[in-house]
Symmetry: D2
């Protein structure tokens, strides 16, 4: 039997707290899960620093990837005998679902910003480069790795296949909303996925939703909205992200200034220099990063060592509402005052802004690649969701941004009570009446 | 206000997926949670290698410790106005609950066996030594750290206090059964804790359960039974433990034989030598261990590098049922054959036996320190649980042991088909009819 | 000890699927639950005809009333030591919570419309009249029944007390959303009540919500929105309500026309005549109504017997979208055609319109009695919810109405295919392209 | 297309709180659900008087019947391509699952005992008699009603089919344990049905369970054990059953003694006379019974009126432990004393004994019709469950009986304090030290 059609003698299952069971029958899927590149995802947390806010959020991208695979598997089971669906694409969809996050590195968000990397590039490299995953996919068919890469890259010709993995209501989002809600323990994030799966219909170039399922979709979109503001953009999590970025910046700067590290940061060198190879990239998982942070707590550079101590022992920065667009002067003044107070403002003062994309996604047209959700009406016509749903309409236009200013409140507290600089800083931060 | 009575201005809560919220009002508790020794528990998994079997089980001991604290907090709220309960002991109980697992190191089970350590000793050292935790507790009262240590050590004079933290139905067990069930996703581990908390009653020297709550307790004990066999003793998890132990053994042996490590295992040296200081012990969390394992994959020693590769990439040993007491001859023969096949049997052949304690606990008398569960009857008499419950009675006598033989099936598969050694090994392992 | 302060020797609990346990310590509450007027609520379904759409929705108002009591009990536990809260009002609140729905009759909605009754009047009568409930309340204190009645009637002087029972986010709504979601099995209706209870704060004349709980309140309002459209206004449920109303109308009409019922409708006579006494009102529960409907299936009047058969055996009317404001001509035409077809349009053709109140409630000012939800900001100022929440703002202005036209599709189907009347009716109902 | 193969154009679903959705594709199933005999099940509670103990247990047999159907549907989906399974039997299984409880009358347990009826006979009559259900089944195939009846009657030739509906681990039990747990809200009743369904395997003459699913089956059996003792045999529920039986006995006795009822009990006459026709049987649902009970509260016979008042207003009998086998003398004495006290002991004194069948079922051989659960071992051999499971073994031998004596404690309380009879009665009931 061809490898692509090979079935396991007995179906294997993974016990999954979100979907109850993840079912695997295909030998290819089984082999991919066993590959070292896929196993590496166990060493990258799904939600980065969120576990410092929600202690349950310690789950890995391995978890999530299995979940996305399982959702696509269930969707395709429903599609089996439907018009527009080409059963030939089944294995391709499953592989793309399973592997779509393969290139994620440690604390992706901060790493990518500081080192100017893109995990999507690495996903492509892993699929197409000299890896176990590539060998397994090539064994299916010459050119199969490229197909998988194209689906994940949204450049595959069959747009229906692409939309299963990346669209406004794809398996990726449906898994992470539920999974992140489960592990954090928040009460948001619930929606009736079973119903959504039942009302999904394949069309020529996209998956659409039967109109009768509109309310379940509304619920899903409200879940996203709540999860973004309650979990993903939580200001405490962002405080940890700020510190994390500062550590990476500082280490890089020290390296560039020929600082002598007590422990040579072997794993980081190529990152500092700007062009890690695939092998170097894969070697740097979150355990390794944490190992360095713990080690750097003993470095002589006071900034690096302090920031690492903060991250490891969770001594985070505090925050206040602060709109940099409106408060330019305060910002400049604070910057100066921090310098006077011997707190390097490049590392100890930061504005972080989070913008709410979730309900802006749903405007067709504007963002080239993002397709709207279409509802299939009883008369077989398609209608864009926000034209039928008041709630979605109401939130789909409004971009919302949250600005926070982060700083080490503990350092300020430690300054002598009669310090004028301290008083002026506190005056700006908290106003007169407080503190 | 005395530090011990200080309350936070506003109650703080942690969102907890198992107990919904963990509530903190006491400044002391808040400070302890923020201490570096307590934060370290985020870097030690609650279930060691179980995440390699149940992918959801990535939660840390930090999680669990907060949960135990919360359960004790709820119990004490019910006890407030009850006879036998001394409200003076409240803070002591809360601290002991929060800190009872403080000394756990990485993958405790294997580490303790290989390096002959005991996490309970380290818990005592952290409480009594030069640590942030000690400073916070001492701030409560001179001698308070010792009290907390005594409660955890079960030597505290007030046995009622001890029994809240360590008994057959203590807060520790109630938390971990539910938490581990939640994160693994298994359907066992559920019992009606709310009801058990409601029927707990303080007595002079122990917590007892009102007889009307007997069925909830039965359910709890059945949960334990199922969790032990379905989760804690899962043979795949034990396969990972076997490999982990072998890695530690091998590294230690190499060190003792003056092997030159490419990367000097600084963090391990004092462990190899047998007497890590508290500081060294605390520095070795699971991130650091994993960092070494990943690095050792590049070591020249083929055994160390192979074992590490197995652990990191989850290439586990396979297993068969094997009773070493009854199958001495097979064991000896296999040992010889492995040697002939150039598979060092000291590292590639292992019997692991797990013994089922859960329902043997409940026999009063035998195990000095373990108290039976007592039911409080309407006539105010106490009766040992198994005398009233058929189900508990039925399982409380029977010790059950499970033996498995672990070996690298992949290595055997790779040997030439016509190898006689291979055939003889397979013959012993699988019998004639299979493979 | 005064009756009002009497506690049960041992707390009693009711196992409740929604709140897990309902706790009773007060003798007064225990006695009220045991009264015959409160037990009667077991014989009135919480959701009327909804069980014909969602088969799980067979729960009674007894269920719900206990739930509202329990929520208020939990709120007051949090209020105990708070400013603005007068512990003297505790028992009053609990009684009002428990008894707020006492006057509900069978299938209240239809009954009240047809017989021009108001269940709120009967609640007042039960509290103040010659009943077991009145005797228990009077035993607490002369004038106590009147106080309870005033709280339920929203005329009590302490507006804070009133707002616990009747406001935009009161215990009543919080219970029924969760309870109705639980029994129907829909995935809407979930919100984080535990958090809402924690952020409720008593003020002089209302309960307010700390701003930090805003997202939980948003979630609650979205739940209401979804429950209204998905469950409460479900068109199939409304079909059953239409038939129910028609039965009552027909029976009353027959009675007024001196029709000779085979079984004299003793229980209904005073309803037909317009002024049931309290005793007569209480005697007519849903079992009795159903008994009559089943009996009336054998009446000679073909309309009464057909409608009863439809209700009892769930042969409901079908429906189409139909806006009576825009489709006056179609309506008139259909009305004529039904008459021609010998289907009495007064009983077999009906437009039902449901208006969505949930998110219109939240506009302060317009509806005198309805207070907006206020958020308590860190600076101690109050702000109306929709001014801080985009989502609530977005739905709070828009009234939405759903119109459906109901008719017996089975009768139409049974008419001869070549009937011109039939063809014309179908033409209007379904247009040309369908059927 | 033949009626038996007809599919609905679009799959219909019922929202079910236990199984989330019940799916219907077959026209035959859809028609059966719509039949009046099946709709009647909405008017018969699943758990009789249990709602007087657990207020959530107001769900009907309609609910449960849909659930059993859904479970069988899922099992058969798994069986589709398996050896031993004959897809021809699919519709038969679904019909038998749906209709297996069709003959249940109001409060079956008491009714059957008092009137010497058997609901299983009526199930057969409904299937084979002049009913809508029979017409639908006959439309499938001449003789099909008989086949369905045989499956339900366990006399059908294909024992595999029978075992799906009636065996130790059949769809019936799996549904009611979960459903009754859900509606009562107890925490027992949970087991991993999804896993059990996955490990079920069809064999020649029975369904067996793969050995790897043994622990899920253990959990299921423990659920049964707990549900029996915590819910089904709850002493308060049995108190209501005792009163119910007494009412029926009294009414029958009065009728036989030519008592003149104010309202002629038309619906009961044939029951009193011992041979209701099918039509009469079907007319007497729980609404009708409750209507009579409420009406009889006004009867002149003091016993009938008192008992009805008790049932309707939940003034139940109290109970004590009482073993009639050991306490013959007390029984005789009480009987005499009640007579002296003018409390007719035939109606006001009753011993109710409940015997625990659940874990006695599992002994093969003894009860002819009950087959043991067989586990399918990896070597393809079958082994009876209790031989592999310690827990099941431990409970499978022990029959447990619970005896309670019921009596109207309120009447005793109302007797003058100095009454000697009262003192003697209380002495026997409560001993000297209490009351």
């Amino acid at each position: 039997m061809a490898y692509r059609d090979e079935k396991l003698e007995e179906e294997k299952v993974f016990k999954d707290p979100v979907h109850r069971y993840v079912h695997v029958r295909d030998r290819v899927i089984w082999d991919l899960i066993g590959s070292r590149e896929f196993q590496r995802l166990r060493r990258v947390k799904q939600l980065g620093t969120t576990y410092l806010t929600f202690h349950g959020a310690e789950h890995s991208r391995f978890n999530h990837s299995l979940g996305v695979y399982e959702i696509v598997r269930r969707i395709l089971e429903n599609f089996r005998d439907r018009e527009h669906w080409n059963e030939e694409e089944r294995l391709l969809c499953l592989c793309a679902a399973l592997l779509h996050d393969l290139g994620h590195g440690p604390f992706s968000h901060s790493f990518e910003k500081v080192f100017k990397l893109d995990h999507e590039d690495f996903t492509q490299e892993i699929l197409l480069g000299d890896t176990e995953v590539n060998r397994i996919l090539t064994h299916v068919e010459e050119g199969f790795p490229k197909k998988v890469a194209d689906v994940i890259n949204k450049t595959y010709s069959d747009k229906l296949v692409v939309s299963l993995i990346s669209s406004q209501i794809d398996a990726d989002r449906m898994d992470y909303l539920q999974r992140d809600a489960y592990f954090t323990g928040v009460s948001y994030g619930h929606f009736d996925m079973e119903r959504i799966l039942r009302v999904m219909r394949p069309m020529e170039d996209q998956v659409v939703i039967k109109e009768s399922g509109m309310h379940a979709v509304e619920d899903y979109i409200m879940s996203r909205y709540q999860m973004y503001w309650q979990v993903y953009f939580h200001p405490v999590t962002r405080s940890a992200e700020v510190i994390l970025s500062k550590i990476l910046h500082r280490a890089k700067e020290l390296y560039q200034n020929h600082y002598e590290f007590k422990l040579k940061p072997v794993h980081f060198l190529s990152f500092f220099e700007g062009s890690p190879t695939l092998k170097e990239y894969l070697a740097l998982d979150e355990n390794v990063v944490m190992y360095y942070f713990q080690t750097w707590m003993d470095e002589d550079d006071p900034i690096l060592s302090d920031l690492c101590e903060r991250f490891v022992n969770r001594r985070l920065f505090k925050y206040i509402e602060f709109n940099p667009n409106l408060q330019m002067n305060e910002w400049r003044e604070l910057y100066e005052l921090f310098r006077e107070a011997d707190l390097n403002p490049r590392y100890y003062l930061e504005v972080d802004s989070s913008s709410d994309l979730p309900y802006d996604f749903y405007r067709p047209g504007e963002e080239g690649e993002r397709l709207p959700i279409h509802l299939l009406q009883p008369n077989k016509e398609l209608k864009e969701l926000s034209r039928l749903s008041d709630i979605v309409e109401s939130i789909s236009g409004k971009k919302r941004t949250d600005h926070k200013l982060y700083f080490p409140a503990d350092e300020l507290r430690r300054m002598p009570e009669d310090s004028e600089v301290k008083q002026r800083i506190l005056g700006i931060l908290y106003g007169k009446e407080e503190q």
